[in-house]
């Protein structure tokens, strides 16, 4: 069938990846700098979403008297909201990020796989900022840092991966039809309700057993909360099921994105 090849003698394999690495860094720094350029609050916007969400969720959680298992309500909600915001903004922003770079994609031979990674890195930047605020808050509430925090790198990785998989899946479909792009916000609201962010995972376990075991976000969000607030290790069984489901999603979404994104310039 069709092929486009560029055999540039000056570019061996190493330089090829190196040039993509440089491009990745340039695009991430472009997005981080450009995003807040015409704003009053500037980089504060990196942490505002997570903080606002925490305020709202704490209010809701207090309103319906959610059982926080003895933890301060603010810590209980904040610890879940920060990773949730990371996951959600990654998933939502990837399709927009791909579409938003349409002008670039239409004119420059840029690898299409790079844009979801760019979005992931910028949302990760936001996550790190919010995470610092979270840690400071936990200290103020005198919640200790324990050895359970060693689970955090894995949890953060799984959050990013899940958001990335959902993001490229939606982006791939968006190249074909725009429905998911419009429905994304609503989808994420439903997902939020089915995830123990406002309430505790125990209530989901006793109420909606199926969702509890099939929603890959449950193990991750609950894991963050256990580690950060209660100093306990996460529920490993839940994490494994989350990992399996995420990888299954990856196996579908990535090839789909790879194939469909070639036609990106044809249909956008």
């Amino acid at each position: 069938m069709s092929q486009w090849s560029n055999n540039n003698p000056a570019q061996d394999r190493f330089h090829y990846w190196l040039s993509y690495w440089n491009l990745l860094i340039s695009l991430v720094s472009r997005d981080i700098r450009a995003r807040y350029r015409r704003t009053f609050l500037g980089p504060l916007w990196a942490i505002i979403p997570a903080i606002l969400a925490t305020v709202i969720f704490s209010f809701l959680s207090g309103l319906v008297s959610v059982d926080t298992e003895g933890a301060p309500r603010l810590a209980f909600t904040f610890a879940a909201t920060v990773p949730w915001t990371f996951f959600q903004s990654t998933a939502v922003r990837i399709p927009h990020g791909v579409l938003g770079n349409g002008a670039l994609l239409r004119k420059m031979p840029v690898p299409r796989q790079i844009f979801p990674v760019v979005v992931l890195l910028t949302t990760f930047f936001d996550f790190l900022m919010s995470f610092v605020v979270l840690v400071v808050t936990l200290q103020l509430l005198s919640i200790p840092i324990t050895s359970a925090w060693l689970w955090l790198p894995l949890l953060i990785f799984m959050t990013g991966l899940l958001g990335w998989v959902v993001g490229i899946g939606v982006a791939a479909f968006t190249i074909y039809r725009r429905d998911l792009l419009h429905g994304m916000q609503h989808l994420m609201q439903v997902w939020l309700i089915l995830t123990p962010v406002i309430y505790s995972a125990k209530e989901l376990e006793s109420g909606l057993q199926l969702v509890h075991s099939l929603n890959p976000a449950v193990g991750i969000i609950d894991g963050f909360r256990r580690v950060l607030v209660f100093g306990q290790p996460p529920d490993v069984a839940l994490l494994v099921s989350s990992m399996v489901i995420t990888c299954a999603g990856l196996a579908v979404a990535y090839p789909l994105y790879r194939i469909l994104s070639q036609y990106f310039t044809d249909v956008v």
Binding site: S2, S5, N8, S19, N22, S26, A34, V110
Partner: protein, 427 residues
């Protein structure tokens, strides 16, 4: 994956090889299913054309390293699609595109710029897209900035730029980042004359230093000046390929609307023409100066008589009359007008034939058109016919030897070698 293909082609010295490329926009699934369905029903599915619409079909060509190729064609003919395929931003439906070297596509202006970032930041970004490391870009940035002549604007965000300034920035990057292959799509039309000149000069330089240039434009003289070869794309196919001069005349002949060419007696029936109609041009013929025989063609350097038949409705004492000679590229190559001194001798009372003798028409071989215009000395147009007459000029050996087919006019020239030291200031 393409290892074998790369091996075989890297031996040759081509920069771009396009082999039997077909392009259909949109996702390929539906046409594929339609074709499979037809196959199941026992239809003949060997004809690809039925599974279109095709933006490009059966396109094959090669561009050698260091060659500069012009692409002409009407809007929608497939020029930009072709560039996108070469640039690798859009996949070919069938066929292969091989690119050999570092490529910089300038498809539309402001290629790949981010409007919230400053000009300088955008230069770095474009460099990164081109695959340069930040350190490599450090060396190039001053050159690019110099070339762009944007001054303090470089620190302002690109959304504040005019389209001309965006083009300046994009173009400055394109011609200063050591690309092996430049794709340039109709970007020279923006920007002021000086910058255009600078760009053309720079592209000449690049072309001479071995950079391959693919150039899409509607400006025929830019192609003639810059390109060694041209292709004419029509309805998604390569309609012709050859020297720029040949291709441009093929293009303009095709794109000229035939119905506007009124020759001989056609003029009689044209009542809808503009003008007061005090008299009307009813026909034009061309005659040999010596014999007076009617001719339709002559050779470069010959003299001819144009006889313009006029149907006079009311006497006109003095009027302005002009013939405009137009070449296939729609450029006015010459203009002949009745001089003030002869006006009184040409007063019209009844139907007459006006003769205009033009001596030594030193135009290059090719087809030309004549526009006729008559007007009152002060005031309105009497009659005006565009493409009223068409004639051919044949080349003679002398002309071809002297200048090939380049340029517009033939200037008879002779050459000789002077003794040493007599050439004056030329050293």
């Amino acid at each position: 994956m393409n290892q074998d293909a790369n091996q075989t082609v890297s031996d040759t010295d081509f920069a771009i090889a396009v082999t039997d490329v077909w392009k259909r926009y949109g996702l390929p699934l539906r046409p594929y299913l339609r074709r499979q369905f037809d196959r199941l029903r026992g239809h003949d599915v060997s004809d690809r054309s039925a599974y279109g619409p095709w933006a490009l079909r059966e396109v094959s060509f090669e561009v050698k390293k260091g060659e500069s190729l012009g692409i002409v064609g009407k809007n929608g003919a497939g020029k930009s699609t072709l560039l996108k395929l070469i640039a690798g931003v859009s996949p070919a439906t069938f066929g292969q595109v091989h690119v050999n070297g570092r490529l910089f596509p300038m498809i539309e202006l402001a290629a790949g710029m981010h409007s919230d970032l400053s000009g300088r930041e955008n230069i770095k970004l474009l460099g990164a897209i081109m695959g340069f490391t930040p350190r490599q870009m450090e060396e190039k940035i001053p050159v690019v900035e110099d070339f762009a002549e944007l001054g303090e604007w470089l620190d302002k965000p690109v959304w504040q730029y005019s389209s001309g300034m965006q083009a300046r920035l994009g173009f400055s990057v394109a011609v200063n980042v050591d690309a092996d292959i430049l794709l340039i799509d109709e970007v020279l039309s923006v920007g002021d004359v000086n910058f255009q000149k600078k760009c053309l000069n720079r592209m000449d330089e690049l072309s001479n230093s071995g950079v391959t240039i693919i150039f899409v434009t509607h400006n025929p003289y830019a192609i003639e000046r810059l390109c060694e070869r041209a292709i004419y794309v029509r309805e998604g196919r390569i309609a012709a390929s050859g020297t720029p001069a040949d291709i441009l005349s093929a293009y303009f002949l095709k794109s000229m609307d035939k119905s506007t060419v009124i020759t001989g007696t056609d003029v009689l029936s044209a009542d809808q023409r503009e003008g007061t109609g005090a008299f009307r041009v009813t026909g034009i013929t061309m005659h040999d100066v010596l014999s007076g025989d009617e001719i339709t063609a002559f050779s470069t350097g010959d003299s001819v008589d144009f006889r313009i038949a006029l149907n006079v409705k009311e006497p006109v004492k003095a009027y302005g009359f002009s013939l405009r000679i137009v070449d296939p590229a729609n450029t006015i190559v010459s203009y002949v007008m009745v001089p003030m001194s002869s006006r009184s001798a040409l007063a019209l009372e009844r139907d007459s034939v006006l003769q205009c003798r033009i001596e030594n028409i030193n135009l290059l071989p090719g087809q030309y058109w004549i526009d006729v215009m008559a007007r009152e000395l002060v005031g309105p147009v009497i009659d005006s016919v565009s493409y009223a007459y068409s004639f051919n000029i044949h080349g003679n050996l002398q002309v071809i030897e002297q200048m090939g087919t380049r340029g517009i006019v033939y200037l008879p020239a002779s050459w000789k070698l002077l003794e040493d030291g007599k050439a004056g200031a030329v050293s």
